[in-house]
């Protein structure tokens, strides 16, 4: 299913958004990682998301933007079954990951999360040393060969190695917020996932730390596929190749749920959106 992204490859942006982003390759050359169709997510009887269908492509950065309460975090946490931990959560529809439906009960969420890693909103390093924060996952998951090299590589990729190489044995809780978040990224990529989901990774960070994280996403997307939730439109415009805009829809009896409004190349979303609601949001006229 091609859904709403059919024309994304042919779009030439009217205005260039300030970015280091390369132009998107033509649609045929993009490999689909996720194919989500008719995804509904419910907490108890309350719908958080309705009817989401979209494809996420390999080695791109895909941003999920939208107002608070539009279900963007819920959505990204569906992709690695993180919502299984929430009591009363249910989802319907299919999430195909490389063609394989991972939303069914018989799929082991542990195996899903093993290949689809996650970085959370607030930095959450383990109460261990910097080294052990990265090494622990490797050890538990049996990737013990060349442990030191793996840790160094992950920390280098996360642009943290130079800052911590002399104090690897000290507590990770002594790092600054931005360093902690990069450590969490190192921890996530050390176990060599295929996809890295980022749930507002920079919302608790200052602009310089934010910039570092954006830069490392940019430099790593050749190896990983990133999905980033952000409430910061500038951030989406800077880092994302594709952008999905979610918004809140209201029912007749006052129910509210999140919906995917538009999904397209980032340039298109920010310069020539097809939906009025998207335009209102990206131009700041959202009420």
């Amino acid at each position: 299913m091609m859904g709403i992204v059919t024309e994304s490859s042919s779009i030439e942006p009217a205005v260039r958004v300030e970015t280091k982003r390369q132009p998107l390759p033509p649609r045929e050359r993009l490999e689909t990682v996720f194919e989500i169709s008719d995804l509904d997510a419910l907490y108890g009887s309350k719908a958080a998301l309705k009817g989401v269908s979209m494809e996420i492509y390999k080695n791109l950065v895909t941003a999920i933007i939208g107002p608070s309460g539009c279900g963007k975090s819920t959505y990204v946490r569906c992709l690695n079954r993180m919502n299984d931990l929430v009591p009363g959560f249910r989802m319907t529809g299919t999430i195909r990951y490389h063609g394989y439906d991972i939303s069914t009960r018989d799929v082991d969420p542990v195996a899903v999360r093993r290949t689809i890693g996650m970085v959370f909103q607030r930095p959450n390093p383990f109460p261990k040393s910097i080294f052990d924060n990265v090494a622990w996952g490797l050890k538990v998951l049996g990737m013990k060969d060349g442990l030191h090299e793996r840790v160094e590589k992950a920390l280098t990729q996360a642009a943290l190695w130079d800052e911590v190489k002399d104090r690897l044995k000290t507590s990770a809780w002594g790092l600054s917020g931005g360093q902690q978040q990069r450590l969490c990224i190192a921890r996530a990529i050390a176990v060599e996932p295929d996809v890295v989901l980022m749930d507002e990774p920079a919302s608790a960070l200052d602009p310089i730390a934010t910039q570092k994280i954006e830069e490392l996403m940019h430099s790593l997307k050749g190896e990983y596929t990133f999905v980033i939730v952000t409430h910061n439109m500038q951030q989406a415009a800077r880092v994302a190749d594709m952008t999905a805009f979610f918004s809140i829809s209201r029912g007749e009896e006052g129910q509210r749920w999140g919906e995917l409004i538009e999904y397209d190349a980032t340039e298109k979303i920010f310069t020539a959106p097809s939906d009025q609601r998207t335009e209102d949001y990206v131009t700041g006229r959202f009420g």
Partner: protein, 300 residues
């Protein structure tokens, strides 16, 4: 007091209503202070009176010599058998209750569905409210009727009393472990059991110890369950839990009924030692609790 600007002095003095409020406030503060002082004073009074009456027997013999019921007054004797017995009984009770309580708490907090969590939690709260003497009778009917009295039966009774206390504190401390740490581990593709074992439990071990120490302090002074399970004891110091063991609260109870003033003083002395033990363990528990809270607090 200097006047501010040109404001008339009357504005700065409390008027009727404000003045009354101030008096009510003072009175309320005074009452609160007084009740707190009474509580502290009561504890001080208890410690003082126990220590004063037991002073004559509060010596090293109390801890090193066994009871000798056949010796008349004037022969030095102590309560070593009761201290050893209490130690053995409480230690075994802790060994029984701690793993049980921890496993229940870990299951309920980390794995169980919400409905199971609330209902089992309620059952354990009810268990916490059962009077100690009822537990004593229960264990009497369960074990003592068929197998006779023993230190083990006493330990079992005390373990039932300890279980809900250790369980509750473990639950509380597990709830304090930030959900984000669990997510960090699960997000790596680490199974749930491993996350619990390697990430959640090490964070909460201080709190578990606190609960255990509190429970020990609580049951060390229990008398009722021991009456039914471990009260008919032989002479001499014994640490064999297969037989009935003397215990400190029982010794206090028995000695207090003795006609000899030295025996009565010994009861007071034993009470004083027990009191000090409970005070000390409570302080240790508080220290553990403060330490583990500090450790958890750093994670923010």
């Amino acid at each position: 007091m200097s006047t501010i600007g040109t404001a008339p002095a009357s504005l700065l003095r409390p008027a009727d209503r404000l003045g009354r409020r101030r008096i009510v406030n003072r009175a309320a503060e005074g009452v609160a202070w007084l009740t707190a002082a009474v509580a502290v004073g009561l504890l001080g009074l208890v410690i003082y009176s126990v220590a004063r009456r037991g002073w004559s027997q509060l010596n090293l013999d109390l801890l090193t010599k066994a009871q000798n019921p056949y010796a008349g007054p004037g022969v030095a004797q102590g309560l070593a058998n009761a201290f050893v017995g209490s130690l053995v009984i409480v230690a075994i009770a802790t060994a029984m209750a701690l793993p049980f309580a921890m496993l229940i708490a870990v299951y309920l907090s980390e794995f169980a569905p919400r409905r199971v969590k609330t209902s089992v939690g309620l059952v354990l709260d009810v268990l916490a409210g059962i009077p100690a003497i009822v537990i004593g009778i229960f264990v009497f009917g369960l074990i003592v009727v068929n197998h006779g009295q023993s230190g083990l039966a006493a330990s079992f009774a005390l373990a039932i009393l300890m279980l809900p206390i250790v369980f509750r504190t473990t639950m509380e401390v597990l709830a304090l472990v930030p959900q984000s740490l669990r997510e960090a581990s699960l997000g790596l593709g680490v199974p749930r059991w491993r996350t619990t074992l390697s990430i959640v439990l090490p964070q909460s071990i201080g709190g578990v110890l606190t609960g255990t120490v509190l429970a020990v302090a609580r049951v060390a002074g229990e008398t009722a369950p021991l009456l039914f399970t471990s009260s008919i004891v032989g002479a001499g110091i014994s640490a064999n839990p297969q037989h009935a063991l003397e215990a400190v609260p029982l010794a206090i109870f028995e000695l207090s009924e003795s006609p000899y003033p030295t025996d009565q003083a010994r009861a007071w002395a034993a009470a004083f030692v027990l009191l000090m033990f409970i005070l000390l363990t409570s302080l240790v528990a508080r220290w553990f609790a403060a330490r583990s809270k500090r450790k958890l607090g750093r994670g923010r």
